[in-house]
């Protein structure tokens, strides 16, 4: 582990921001303040942050319905995100998108996506732009285990390979697609599929930020070098239901509790950096306290923000019509 302090602090901050953000959304949803379908990323933070820790302004990501973590990891403003989730006018999308459509193209975040498998084709396009304009940019599609069975995803593997695009497909395998186990729904294996399309791949421990970081390093290097796409099969878990309101009766007895206890990515990170003497507990606690305050403020700001108005209903459909 050779990482400088700032990098480690930033990474931890980013993961904790996601966790606090999701925990607060979970709480506020339960009070009825947050409308719509909300899918929380808590538990999976090491993946988004580990991958995005290699990305910069040239790079673009496409996310899924479970998009908050990817947004935060790619640099979207958490307060503007919270406002969006609350359906407020100051939201990142003016309240028109909501949780499933948060995007910030200026940050290289092409959008959460309500369509499973919606992102991979789009990210091939972002990669094509990078390749064509020779920016050196990399394009990353996050895909769930369930989304790995969608034809749009599988086609994109082939297109990325045939066009030799700087793409990384990150399969976030949290074991379930809604209530369906990936052990059942995924014929063959993720890595086997990658090989079938001629793509290099790696299996990655998604509870370990450093494992994700290292695996991504190789994939990013390959992409930037013009050597085409890579698939990362990241294994991890989600703490909350598929969406808010899901009782998770399909999961094993005590499954989530055990994983929270044994494999929590924040705990793993903390243990590794403190054991290695790179950071100490008070520093990390300090970050947590700061983040908690920031997210509290974001919720307050969101609740105070104005609602969109009748005039907003019909704007932004076209650039010009």
């Amino acid at each position: 582990m050779q990482h400088n302090r700032d990098f480690l602090l930033d990474s931890y901050r980013s993961m904790v921001t996601i966790r606090r953000f999701e925990d607060r959304v979970h709480e506020e949803f339960a009070t009825g303040k947050i409308p719509g379908f909300v899918h929380l990323y808590a538990g999976e933070e090491a993946s988004a942050v580990g991958v995005c820790s290699h990305l910069d302004a040239r790079d673009v990501i496409a996310s899924t319905h479970r998009g908050h973590g990817h947004c935060i990891a790619k640099g979207c403003d958490a307060t503007a995100m919270m406002k969006e989730i609350y359906g407020r006018r100051g939201g990142l999308c003016g309240g028109k998108g909501g949780s499933m459509h948060i995007a910030d193209l200026s940050k290289g975040m092409m959008g959460a996506n309500g369509i499973v498998g919606g992102g991979p084709p789009l990210i091939c396009g972002a990669a094509l732009t990078a390749k064509y304009l020779k920016t050196g940019g990399v394009a990353v599609a996050f895909v769930g285990d369930g989304g790995s069975n969608q034809g749009t995803t599988l086609e994109s593997y082939n297109l990325a390979r045939v066009w030799n695009l700087p793409v990384i497909f990150v399969i976030e395998d949290n074991g379930y697609a809604e209530a369906t186990a990936s052990a059942w729904s995924v014929g063959g294996t993720q890595r086997g599929r990658a090989a079938g399309f001629g793509m290099p791949s790696a299996e990655v421990d998604g509870f370990d930020f450093f494992a994700v970081h290292d695996a991504t390093a190789e994939a990013v290097q390959r992409a930037r070098a013009g050597d085409g796409p890579t698939l990362l099969h990241v294994k991890l878990t989600r703490y909350y239901g598929h969406f808010e309101g899901d009782a998770m009766t399909y999961r094993g007895q005590g499954e989530v509790a055990r994983l929270r206890q044994e494999s929590d990515c924040l705990k793993v990170f903390r243990r590794k950096v403190t054991e290695a003497g790179l950071l100490d507990d008070p520093e990390l606690d300090g970050i947590e306290a700061e983040v908690t305050e920031a997210i509290d403020a974001a919720v307050r700001d969101a609740e105070a923000d104005a609602l969109p108005t009748a005039a907003d209903l019909v704007t932004n459909v076209y650039d010009r019509y």
């Binding site: 409308p35 998108g97 459509h101 969608q150 809604e178 499954e255």
Partner: protein, 336 residues
């Protein structure tokens, strides 16, 4: 008569038909829920619980969970229908049609014609539609005009629990591909639903209000709003006929034309996007075939030409409501 929800009515219709005919099977993402998972079987029964209980009764051979691959399993349902089964397949949200429409509109819908009449495809595709759930642009669309556009498909829009059961039984017994639209906001609505099986024929409209001043044609969730509007209008001395066509394909043109012949005024209420919509379709019907009866312009009540917004503040403005229907009908009675 026993009161049941729209959700229960659909569930009961499917369960009854499964008992009656072993060729009826059900498939979709988490229609049972929990495939391969350590916890409960039948953990979901569909994302909003409509198929709950089918798995315990009928087992894994007749209630099939699927991977997330709508083309493959909706296509499989079409292929199974063409070879002897009677599948009820779920396209969870109609918004997802874009990943599997080919299997619906180029395959299932066209088999019979392309094959010179030598195919029957008794397929039901159940799908959720409509705004009001704060589900944003990709989970709130109506899109039934798109399906209505396609020859070979039948399109069903139950507006109440009673309709839901009778139309679903008809859909399952029908030998053509049927797309069955369930409005997500209606699932918890209750109404009188007989315990026994009954069918509602396709192409027969239901007149939920009868009046002589104006005809209001409304679809799906909009029927309830049209009824509310009619009741308000009545208090203002305007008597309205409300027509729920129940199916857009086939369409009961006669009921609409007959009513307009009487009232001379037409309002069409459609939750779908306004362009090339059912509102337009009905307007065409009447402007072409009952023109001489018309005393006033046709009025359509629809959302604006925009995607469905997320924010409740906007979505509530987006969805047509009773007030806009009242306004439209009232304006018409100033004519003629």
């Amino acid at each position: 008569m026993p009161k049941k929800t729209y959700r229960q009515a659909i569930n009961e219709a499917i369960a009854g038909e499964m008992r009656r005919d072993h060729r009826v099977i059900v498939m979709g993402e988490d229609n049972a829920g929990g495939a391969g998972a350590p916890g409960e079987n039948d953990a979901w029964g569909g994302v909003l619980g409509v198929t709950k209980g089918l798995f315990p009764e009928f087992g894994p051979e007749r209630v099939l969970d699927t991977p997330i691959s709508e083309s493959a399993f909706i296509g499989a349902a079409a292929g199974a229908a063409a070879t002897g089964l009677r599948p009820v397949a779920e396209l969870m949200f109609v918004d997802f049609m874009g990943v599997c429409f080919d299997q619906i509109f180029n395959q299932a819908a066209k088999f019979r014609y392309m094959f010179g009449g030598h195919a029957v495809t008794p397929l039901v595709i159940r799908t959720m539609y409509g705004a009001g759930f704060r589900a944003a642009s990709q989970h709130s669309q109506c899109l039934y005009p798109v399906f209505t556009h396609i020859p070979g498909l039948k399109v069903v829009l139950p507006s109440s629990p009673y309709e839901a059961k009778g139309l679903m039984i008809q859909a399952i017994r029908d030998d053509d591909p049927v797309v069955f639209f369930e409005h997500k906001v209606l699932y918890d609505e209750t109404g009188d639903v007989p315990d026994e099986a009954y069918t509602i024929p396709f192409g027969e409209a239901n007149l939920t209000r009868e009046g002589k001043d104006v005809t209001i044609v409304a679809f799906g969730r909009m029927v309830g709003f049209a009824n509310q509007a009619a009741d308000t209008l009545k208090r203002d001395g305007i008597s309205a006929t409300v027509i729920d066509p129940r199916t857009t394909s086939p369409l009961d043109s006669e009921a609409i034309l007959d009513s307009v012949a009487e009232t001379g005024r037409l309002v069409v209420v459609d939750e779908a996007h306004p362009r090339c919509s059912m509102a337009a379709d009905i307007a065409r019907l009447v402007a072409e075939e009952a023109f001489s009866s018309l005393k006033a312009p046709i009025r359509t009540v629809t959302p604006p030409h925009t995607p469905v917004p997320f924010s409740p503040a906007l979505e509530d403005l987006y969805v047509p409501g009773p007030a806009r229907i009242v306004e439209a009908a009232t304006a018409l009675t100033k004519h003629g």
